[in-house]
């Protein structure tokens, strides 16, 4: 990963993305098995090796499974700068001693997720170089099974507002194939831009296309996950 130009967040080499302005939130939209979630892991956790904080909200995967996945998507992860909110309601205590983990018993408790996000964000803000914290939410689609669209919009917009006020970076995943157009368009309103993911045409792991963010590559760009 190259150094971050002033006022931006840069990404690992395997991601065909130019740096994104601080304070931004992006929606990463891809169907199941499209590697959208892996992409968000790389965008968020990849910054810890530069001293940034990384906060992952994992709605239905346990912290243990998330950490296993990060071994590939952020191999040089600095766990001391990682915070996880585990909303899976299972496998409590699986994070290990070096990772800050907060547990929420059910995905329907948006109050609890929001408050623990705020508390963990403050904690990471204090230890991260320059107060720089990246946030990943995996996934909006999972939360939508527990709360109605307006509540989910309010929650996502509140997260986005905190990220904006702290000059952070946010990346939230959504599976657009499981929602109608109004739902996807409404949730995308919380973000500054959108990254669409689709199955690749060749032997890459996926293709991405950026919309709404300045200075990004145009058209579909192939990407390959780091080797295991």
């Amino acid at each position: 990963m190259s150094a971050d130009p002033a006022g931006t967040y840069a990404f690992p080499e395997w991601l065909p993305l130019e740096p994104i302005s601080q304070g931004s939130t992006v929606i990463v939209a891809g169907p199941a098995f499209s590697n959208a979630e892996k992409l968000v892991e790389g965008m968020v956790a990849g910054g810890t090796r530069n001293g940034e904080g990384a906060l992952m909200i994992s709605t239905n995967e346990t912290c243990r499974k998330l950490l296993e996945s990060l071994r590939r998507t952020a191999a040089d992860l600095d766990r001391s700068r990682l915070g996880v909110i585990d909303c899976s309601g299972q496998d409590i205590g699986s994070g290990g001693p070096e990772v800050q983990v907060k547990y929420v018993s059910t995905q329907s408790d948006l109050t609890g997720i929001g408050m623990k996000f705020s508390a963990l964000y403050e904690s990471l803000y204090g230890v991260a170089t320059g107060g720089r914290v990246r946030t990943g939410l995996i996934s909006l689609s999972s939360l939508s099974m527990y709360v109605d669209l307006r509540k989910l919009f309010q929650f996502a917009q509140t997260l986005s507002g905190r990220i904006d006020s702290a000059d952070g970076l946010g990346a939230f995943t959504i599976d657009p194939t499981t929602h109608d157009t109004q739902t996807v368009n409404t949730l995308c309103q919380v973000a500054d831009g959108r990254i669409d993911i689709r199955e690749p045409e060749d032997d890459a792991d996926g293709e991405l296309r950026v919309r709404g963010l300045a200075g990004q590559p145009s058209g579909w760009q192939p990407f390959s996950l780091p080797s295991e």
Binding site: T111, A119, E122, R150, A166
Partner: protein
């Protein structure tokens, strides 16, 4: 009109510190900010108004908790940003009490304390980041444009009512209206049929607050019970005779949308592209009329019959 920020804390010194930190952050802001304080949940709930833009509250209060205040704020001023600013460890708080209502949390003991609180409250108020609906990126300019028009004159309302009559006749519906989207509410400026009885509606319950975001200039909802944006409010909408909706934006010559011209059907209905184009034409006539009246100035308003 000033925005109100309510600070709730049983500790008088803590209340003063919070207000001082926020006052510095909002110094010189437009609109201005007025601070109100309370020491108890009961006093705080009594101080909530529709103009309350933010509520900052301790969790432990003598007669309840900060969640009681936040729950009351969600009813009295749904758009307000709520922040729990507390000494209480969030891991010890039973969050199910709030039943999914959203609040920010800032620990008083954090290294950043009041400074981070002030930044967060400012962002929350200015971007309405805790509202349950999206706002246009040009919201401040849009509201300024709205304030620049005198929409109270009998003549302008009478002209707009004739446009709602035309819209209702064309679509064969019993209700139509010209709606203005303010900072927190929707006003029914000119109406046809039963819509004349409607009163101001909270912005979060308004369909038009989504319409004003449409780049296409119009939006249809064939059935409010089947649209995820409105299904949780569909019972109240159907009570007003709104099962299907078509709205077209009132967009000023500067490109700012101040409201919509709408028709309502009490049965599910699919609107065609031609329907949307026709309503957009009528909406264009309506905004031209509003702008012409504004350009003519107060003298024209007085000559036309004065204020309502």
């Amino acid at each position: 009109m000033a925005r109100r920020i309510l600070c709730v804390d049983p500790d008088g010194d803590a209340r003063t510190d919070t207000v001082e930190a926020l006052s510095a952050e909002f110094d010189g802001s437009d609109p201005t900010v007025e601070f109100v304080t309370a020491a108890t949940a009961a006093d705080a709930e009594g101080a909530l108004t529709t103009d309350t833009a933010a509520v900052i509250t301790e969790y432990a209060l003598p007669d309840g908790t900060g969640f009681d205040v936040i729950g009351a704020a969600r009813k009295a001023c749904a758009d307000a940003g709520c922040v729990l600013y507390t000494d209480t460890d969030p891991d010890t708080i039973d969050t199910t009490e709030l039943r999914g209502a959203i609040t920010e949390y800032v620990g008083k003991g954090s290294a950043f304390g009041a400074d981070r609180l002030a930044q967060l409250v400012r962002t929350t108020v200015e971007t309405k980041s805790q509202s349950s609906y999206p706002v246009p990126q040009t919201e401040p300019e849009r509201l300024a444009a709205l304030r620049s028009y005198d929409l109270r004159g009998d003549a302008v309302v009478s002209s707009l009512e004739r446009i709602t009559d035309l819209a209702a006749a064309f679509f064969g519906v019993e209700q139509a209206s010209v709606n203005i989207i303010g900072e927190h509410s929707q006003e029914f400026l000119a109406c046809h049929g039963g819509a004349e009885e409607w009163e101001t509606m909270d912005r979060e319950d308004s369909i038009c607050t989504f319409t004003i975001l449409e780049d296409a200039g119009s939006m249809s909802v064939p059935d409010v019970t089947a649209d995820p944006r409105f299904e949780s409010r569909s019972e109240a909408l159907i009570g007003l005779g709104i099962r299907a909706y078509l709205g077209a934006n009132l967009t000023t010559s500067a490109g700012l949308t101040i409201g919509s011209l709408c028709v309502y059907d009490d049965d599910p209905r699919q609107f065609t592209g031609e329907d949307e184009a026709y309503l957009r034409d009528l909406a264009d006539v309506a905004i031209e009329l509003i702008e012409l009246r504004a350009a003519a100035g107060p003298a024209a308003t007085a000559a036309d019959g004065g204020d309502r």
